[in-house]
């Protein structure tokens, strides 16, 4: 009977020995055996590969592998030709004419032409949900000839050109558009093609370089792999073990990555963290209807302290919801609300709340520490902060149902018009109570009719000043995007107003 015990011991030891002998494969970059290879650690999954389902920011980058867009936004934020070689508006800015390339084919062999553009754009208009607003103003698509289309708009859309470099501009093969397979296997004209045999949905998505791609300078790799790693420590671990070349981290892991010798892109901010005060009309919380109360909240927070404490200094305090690259940014506005609890108390008293007010904001998982700090700051001004736990999955539905008076969230900063549409118009999700103001509406209308440039910027700045002065928001700070990468394998530059660098921004290290 002794052998049973020995067998048991052997059974435990043997696999361990086997495993130890397999050690060699760990840490290897897959690029070794297949030429130049790039592995990116993403924080979220691409749930649908259909071109109309593309997100912005993180969600757009994987789409850049199989798809090209009509326009391309370069690393300086300028729009460059891509599938469209030239574009121009008419006088009224309701018709955009695009000249198209004639030498591009999709990976299924179908030629790229005006009909393809029409099919894509119309499909987007009908079926897109996540970024439907990008073509909200599109009325119809006119095919002039095989290389020319005209986009007819129902009203001017200052963000249209930008959007044509985003989800709306992704071009799928017309054979694939609208099919069920498009959700799982993308068919585009892009530099890479999905390698289905190696792909595990929701875990790793593998693309291989397409032969005879029309823009070799945009095709830096033979193989691109996206690893879905939802946990930030998993992303850091993957980076440290050499299993990914670049990934997005956060303030808590910044030092670890830097200390381990990884490069981190500097001056990369795309989101602002703060409160969106939905209830400006006081339906849920009458106190919020008074602008002085909202301003008091802005005075009561100590933004610099929060940046230090919550982002470990990796951020910049701000009072404006618009970003520095949006054109709406006004430097002086950042001084509008210095940390001044006394002033806050005064304002509250003026508004008729000498004993203070209560503010209820949503609290996402893991944000309790942040809100504890803010609560402490607000209490010094007599403002009681109540946290209402929410789940990300439920949040939007509840917002739409007007359950919350204020939202605590990270919102991305883009071109002025985009954020106006996102935050300020009457029927956007982030304005569930439909707050309006004639002055603001007038400014918005004016902005709509302008093309980008100094005039548009001036109007955007006025909009910015309006919302800051009227304290529609309580912006706290812009947080750094912590993009960490292995400088010995990869070169990468930031992409303005995009949460993760575009695929085109990556190149093998020299």
């Amino acid at each position: 009977m002794k052998f049973k015990k020995t067998a048991a011991i052997a059974a435990v030891l043997l696999p361990t020995l086997l495993l130890a002998s397999c050690g060699g494969s760990a840490g290897e970059n897959a690029g070794g055996e297949q030429g130049r290879s790039l592995t990116i650690g993403m924080l979220g999954d691409v749930t649908s590969w259909a071109s109309e389902d593309a997100h912005v920011g993180h969600g757009l980058v994987p789409m850049q592998a199989p798809y090209d867009s009509l326009l391309r936004r370069d690393a300086q934020g300028e729009l460059q030709p891509m599938l469209a070689t030239d574009w121009s508006y008419d006088e009224a800015r309701t018709a955009l004419t695009l000249e198209l390339r004639d030498d591009v084919t999709f990976s299924d062999g179908v030629a790229f032409d005006a009909e393809a553009v029409k099919a894509n754009l119309e499909h987007f208009k009908d079926d897109a949900l996540r970024q439907a607003s990008q073509l909200a103003a599109l009325d119809s698509v006119e095919v002039v000839d095989s290389d020319t289309v005209v986009l007819h708009l129902s009203e001017p859309d200052p963000a249209l050109e930008l959007n044509l470099s985003q989800a709306a501009g992704l071009m799928a093969s017309p054979e694939a558009v609208g099919t069920a397979e498009a959700d799982t296997v993308p068919v585009g004209s892009g530099p890479y093609v999905m390698e289905v045999e190696s792909t595990v949905a929701g875990s790793r998505i593998v693309f291989t370089a397409r032969d005879d791609y029309w823009a070799p300078e945009l095709q830096q790799y033979d193989r691109v792999e996206f690893r879905v790693l939802e946990d930030v420590s998993a992303r850091l671990n993957a980076l440290q073990s050499g299993q990914v070349d670049a990934t997005i981290l956060d303030a808590t892991t910044y030092d670890q990555a830097a200390g381990a010798g990884f490069e981190i892109l500097e001056d990369y901010q795309t989101d602002w963290n703060g409160f969106t005060l939905f209830d400006r009309d006081g339906e849920l919380n009458p106190a919020l209807a008074d602008v002085r109360v909202r301003q008091a909240i802005n005075y009561a927070v100590d933004r610099e302290a929060l940046v230090e404490q919550i982002e470990r200094g990796h951020g910049t305090a701000t009072t404006q919801p618009f970003g520095p690259e949006s054109g709406a940014y006004v430097d002086e506005l950042d001084d509008r609300y210095p940390h001044d609890p006394e002033r806050a108390r005064e304002l509250l008293a003026e508004a008729g709340y000498p004993d203070g007010v209560t503010l209820t904001v949503t609290m996402l998982p893991g944000w309790d520490g942040m809100q504890a700090a803010i609560r402490q700051q607000l209490s010094e001004a007599g403002i009681t902060l109540t946290s209402e736990p929410v789940q990300f999955a439920n949040m939007f539905g509840d917002i739409a149902q007007k359950k919350y008076e204020a939202l605590h969230f990270n919102l991305f900063q883009s071109e002025a018009w985009v954020n106006v549409q996102q935050l300020l118009v009457e029927n956007t999700l982030y304005n569930p109570f439909g707050s309006t103001d004639p002055e603001l509406t007038g400014l918005i209308d004016e902005l709509q009719s302008l093309s980008s440039g100094e005039q548009a910027d001036a109007v955007a700045q006025q909009i910015n000043e309006f919302v800051v002065e009227n304290a529609w928001f309580v912006p706290l700070y812009r947080l750094d995007q912590v993009i960490a990468f292995d400088a010995e394998r990869v070169e990468v530059v930031k992409q303005p107003q995009q949460a993760f660098p575009s695929l085109y921004n990556f190149a093998p290290a020299a």
Binding site: T252, G366, D368, G369, A372, A373
Partner: protein, 590 residues
Amino acid sequence: MSNTELVALASMRTRTSPLRRLLTNPLGVVSVTVLGVIVLVAVFAPVIAPFGPNFAEVGNAFAGPGDGHLLGTDSAGRDVWSRLVSSTQLTLLSALLCAGVAIAIGLPTGLIAGYYGGLFDGIGNWFAGLIMSLPGIIVLLTARAAFGPSVWITMIVFGILISPSYFRLTRTAVQSARNELYVDAARVAGLSDVRIIARHILSVVRAPIILQTAIICAVAIGIQNGMEFLGIGDPLTATWGAMINDGFRNIYTAPQLVFWPALTIGLTTGSLVLLGNAIRDALEGGSTVAAPAKRGRRTAASASVPVSSAHLLEVRGLETGYPRVDGSTNVVVKGVSFAVDRGEVLGIVGESGSGKTQTAFSILGLLPQSARIVGGEIVFDGRRITSGDAGVDQGALAALRGRRIAYIPQEPMSNLDPAFTIGAQLTRPMVTGLRISRAEAQRRALSLLARVGIPDPARTMRAYPHEISGGMAQRVLIAGAVSCDPDLIIADEPTTALDVTVQAEVLELLREMQRELGMAVVVVSHNFGLIADLADRVVVMREGEIVEEGAVRDVLRHPQHPYSQQLLASTVAGRKPLTPLLTETEGSAR
């Protein structure tokens, strides 16, 4: 529990309660102390925490210990010590709530299902299966979505989800206990079911339940941790899980934030488990007071020292005892001496507690682990089998047992392994002991079974112990004892547990086999009739000492010692000595 265990326990129990035994177990003491401290911390939390659990000092995050913060501050500038202390109460209470719900559902249903069986058992089993098959994480998530993120609700739901484990454990334990003889006895005695369950069954169920509770509390805390990690915990209340999660999120910046709650969790869950073990040991008496004699190990000295002896078995001044908690020894065999020659039958008579069984087991070397042979020696066939270190020479005895010294136990059913066939249990020791092939052992076993009067040996060989009657089982045990042709048999009350009519048959069997095989027998009994029939000489024991010995006719006819006279006088009145108390009946052997 057998007689010997009762004796062993009695020597401990006379002075100690389970509580005392718990407290002498070092692990028990440590765990009780640790848990006590933690409970005190929970109760006095408001007093010993300088800050509120959610009070955040902005700008003072990740501070080290000092400056009013005993353990530093966390990522929000909250005092770690205050949070730790405040969350103790909540975490403990919620874990207890979970276990409480689970026990409240699982224990009663398990008791009823195990005891009564039938429809309730079927239904209960099905529900247990249903609840166990529910995907726990999904239920927790949807409950959270429906009822809110409160940790109390989560613990109640989890308690419901985990109650089948209690149901199953209870049911299994009750089922095995239900078939024990003492339950039948209780039933026959007319005890109500409730009483039986409450007093007898419950005590069997205690051990696994207590252990499981400790484990469940630990699991409940683990569930809280897990849900915090997944972001679906209760963000507004400070629990250890919340602290660990905060520490985990910042593990690269301040690893010590994980350390403190982990230490607390570890101490608590560890103490719970150890306490569970210790309680179980205290209640069941399974743990030992002193270090046990190691079985099967040869002692360095006296590798069966040859000693001159004229007899087959000689017991010289044997003293056997059990250590008490206070260090003294309860001596149950006080200087017993006797001898047995080849082919001779010696009877050892006495009341319960006279030490006769202890003597028998001392010879066999099968005393409980806590027993000590504190004096005298035992010599078998010219070799000393007691060793120098308060025990027996297990190495020597192991070679003798089953081959040259055999044992016939008292209670037939509990002395057979319920998981093996009669045939397997019979033949295997023969194969190793006699070094014969299995086929040969099978043949011999069959003939042995026939010899002991079993009507269908082949069928019995294939049967399991629970499929045969008590009388047949005893015959099987006798067959097993003689199977290797031993020189000496120690029979401990061989017929006491049998039906009256079967007793006579087995007695006759014993007598025949003894004559046929010429074995020496030491038969321990309180039954004079048996002794009269079987023994050549008899020894009367009282409270660990021999009070009289001599030829059986002499002692039984003319007892000299007052105690022997007393004993004999208390036999059934109206019978003359030397007549068998039992009459043979006709009919088939049972």
